[in-house]
């Protein structure tokens, strides 16, 4: 089967996020970058499906030229084809992103055949728009369900599991289909040395995307209002136990 995974390169912040002077982006001067977590799991899901059913997995991203790093990482864990929709690095809104990805998928499918399954992350770690996958699926007129933490494939049907507060929902989508995947669907593997070497040989097809901006426009980023917490130190080491239990009694959680 043919599987496409769409991923996003995002900064990997530690305990603090700083904003650039113009307020339009995260200051990444001292940050590394990574694949957005849900999408890292989507890549693993694609690789596992190809291992089980044969075929090939392709990874696609829209982002700056440096996003080739995330494509190579996907290649190092088993993805065989990579596509970069290279932007100048500015933030693309969800409608524009979806239109560009749709155009690229259509062009690839016209040449190489339809993807049986397209996987997105449920939402990106940074902008969290919750919609690019849905828009692409709609443009392609394919079914999509989000929040997926289990995928199995048989007889042209993708069976998807979605955990909710009430339990678990099961969907059966006739392929070609699309799914928005969440972290927890699997535990992504680490690249092997052999995988890393192989990833250097994978050809990255670069496309210059063109799509008009959509209706959501970033004005500026701001830090959230700081919660003025002053931490009460209850004590040091095991001697603090009595003070902790006093607190639990005070809060009414000790029944």
């Amino acid at each position: 089967m043919r599987i496409l995974v769409c991923v996003k390169r995002v900064p990997a912040p530690g305990s603090r996020i700083n904003i650039t002077a113009d307020g339009l982006a995260v200051d990444t001067a001292f940050l590394g970058f990574t694949t957005s977590p849900h999408e890292e799991c989507a890549v693993e899901a694609a690789v596992q499906l190809v291992e089980a059913h044969g075929g090939s997995a392709t990874v696609l991203t829209l982002g700056p030229a440096e996003a080739e790093e995330q494509l190579r990482y996907a290649a190092s864990v088993g993805v065989s084809n990579a596509v970069l929709l290279a932007t100048d690095g500015a933030d693309w809104d969800p409608q524009r992103t979806a239109a560009a990805i749709t155009a690229a998928i259509t062009a690839i499918e016209d040449r190489d055949g339809v993807f049986d399954l397209i996987l997105f992350g449920n939402e990106s770690a940074d902008s969290g728009g919750f919609q690019v996958g849905v828009r692409v699926a709609r443009h392609l007129d394919r079914p999509i369900v989000n929040g997926i933490k289990g995928i199995s494939v048989a007889d042209g049907i993708a069976t998807l599991e979605r955990p909710t507060d009430a339990g678990q929902e099961v969907y059966e989508l006739t392929m070609p289909a699309v799914a928005g995947v969440k972290e927890g669907i699997n535990l992504p593997r680490y690249p092997t040395l052999k995988g890393r070497l192989a990833s250097k040989k994978v050809q990255v097809a670069t496309i210059e995307p063109s799509a008009k901006p959509g209706g959501q426009v970033l004005v500026r980023l701001e830090p959230p209002a700081e919660l003025t917490t002053s931490t009460t130190i209850l004590g040091n080491g095991p001697d603090a136990a009595a003070a902790v239990v006093d607190l639990l009694e005070e809060l009414g959680v000790l029944r």
Binding site: P13, S15, I17, P37, A99, T106, E123, A125, D126, S127, G128, G129, F130, Q131, V134, R135, R138, P143, I144, N146, G147, T164, D165, G167, Q168, E169, V170, T174, E183, G184, L187, K212, P213, G214, G215, Q216, L218, V219, R220, L221, E222, P223, L227, T231, I233, L234, G235, G237, P238, A240, A241, A242, V244, V245, L247, L248, L251, V253, L254, R255
Partner: protein
């Protein structure tokens, strides 16, 4: 007068989602700001039971979308119903819950009506008619706030076509409906002070049979009991716990308090705990009476999942750890000594 504020009421086979009451509360304030009415939409006849809730939160009109295919949640069918409601009633704003379902349904509706959709808003600055419609919204799970403007329906772009970034209430034939969700916990749900009687009206949706393709085909019900999302006490462990086995004392403490064990993303990535135990941006958002965070440094990914806790107690050897400096209470020390001491103290007091 502008169109109404239409709140899409999330429910599960007739049981209203708590977030839907927050959306009604936020929608009521926005309707007052815009000088318009508050309306609500329930999807499927099993949602008819939500009328009383919608009324007590101030909805003037409750649209009840009916169709034989609307027997259960179905993202494409629900999104199509919302898109049809936009065409039929031309609301100024469609507001839904900033939850998995709410965001999914509005994404579907936006894709179908070819319009912008802004997820997880915190505040609205609608301005005067014709002004730019401003919002603030969540980024990075709440670690950053984005100030944005949004165009309504008809101003969006299709594949390769579009009208650019013009702002305002929509031009020409566009309706200008804004599609928004309100972040969960951004407002506290509160009923209307003087609710009137709402008018319930049935909306006969016209659904193509093809929307059945995203119907739920089976369900597995969760056994009763506290979950990470609902537990009154969560005892969380981070990398500092040291191993999968070393979570046993945390489990004992959680059991004593009627709570559950949580963990950081580092722990699930190490394979020490199942992902279902993960507290964080890509795990579960918790809101217990107290969160006891043990050996957790407090990376943003974890903090945003824990920050809705009413109180946080950090146990850490590092007094400068982010988790310690952001928490209400802290014990500076080795969790492997502190937690058994707490457990022993609880047992000692219970024995007397």
């Amino acid at each position: 007068m502008s169109g109404a504020v239409l709140v899409v009421l999330e429910h599960d086979r007739g049981t209203i989602a708590p977030a839907a009451l927050e959306a009604l509360t936020a929608g009521r304030a926005l309707a007052a700001q815009l000088g318009t009415t508050l309306e609500a939409l329930t999807i499927g006849s099993n949602g008819d039971s939500l009328v009383a809730d919608a009324e007590s939160f101030g909805a003037d009109v409750i649209h009840q979308a009916h169709h034989a295919l609307l027997t259960d949640y179905n993202p494409e069918a629900w999104g199509e119903v919302v898109a049809q409601m936009i065409t039929a009633t031309q609301p100024a704003v469609v507001l839904a819950t900033g939850t998995d379902r709410g965001n999914e349904v509005l994404a579907q509706a936006a894709a179908r009506s070819d319009s912008a959709f802004v997820a997880n808003c915190l505040t609205f600055e609608p301005g005067q008619p014709g002004d730019t419609f401003g919002v603030t919204r969540v980024r990075w799970g709440g670690s950053l706030i984005e100030r944005a403007t949004v165009d309504g329906t008809g101003a969006g772009t299709g594949t390769g076509t579009g009208t650019g970034t013009g702002t305002g209430a929509g031009a020409g034939t566009s309706i200008g409906t804004k599609l928004l969700t309100i972040a969960h916990h951004a407002v506290d749900a509160s009923p209307a002070a003087n609710p009137g009687a709402g008018t319930a009206t049935v909306f006969e949706a016209r659904l193509d049979p093809s929307v059945a393709r995203t119907m739920i085909v089976a369900r597995v019900e969760r056994p009763a009991g506290v979950t990470l999302a609902t537990a009154p006490v969560v005892v969380g462990g981070g990398r500092g716990v040291g191993s999968a086995d070393a979570f046993t004392p945390l489990q004992s403490l959680a059991d004593l308090l009627g709570g559950v064990v949580g963990c950081s993303r580092a722990v699930t990535n190490l394979g020490w705990r199942n992902h279902t135990d993960q507290v964080g941006q890509t795990g579960t958002r918790i809101a217990p009476d107290i969160y006891i965070a043990c050996g957790i440094s407090g990376a943003i990914q974890h903090w945003v999942g824990a920050m809705a806790s009413k109180k946080i107690l950090a146990i850490n050897t590092d007094p400068q750890a982010n988790m310690v400096t952001k928490s209400d209470y802290a014990v500076i020390g080795d969790l492997h000594q502190v937690i058994p001491a707490i457990t022993a103290e609880i047992e000692r007091r219970r024995a007397t």
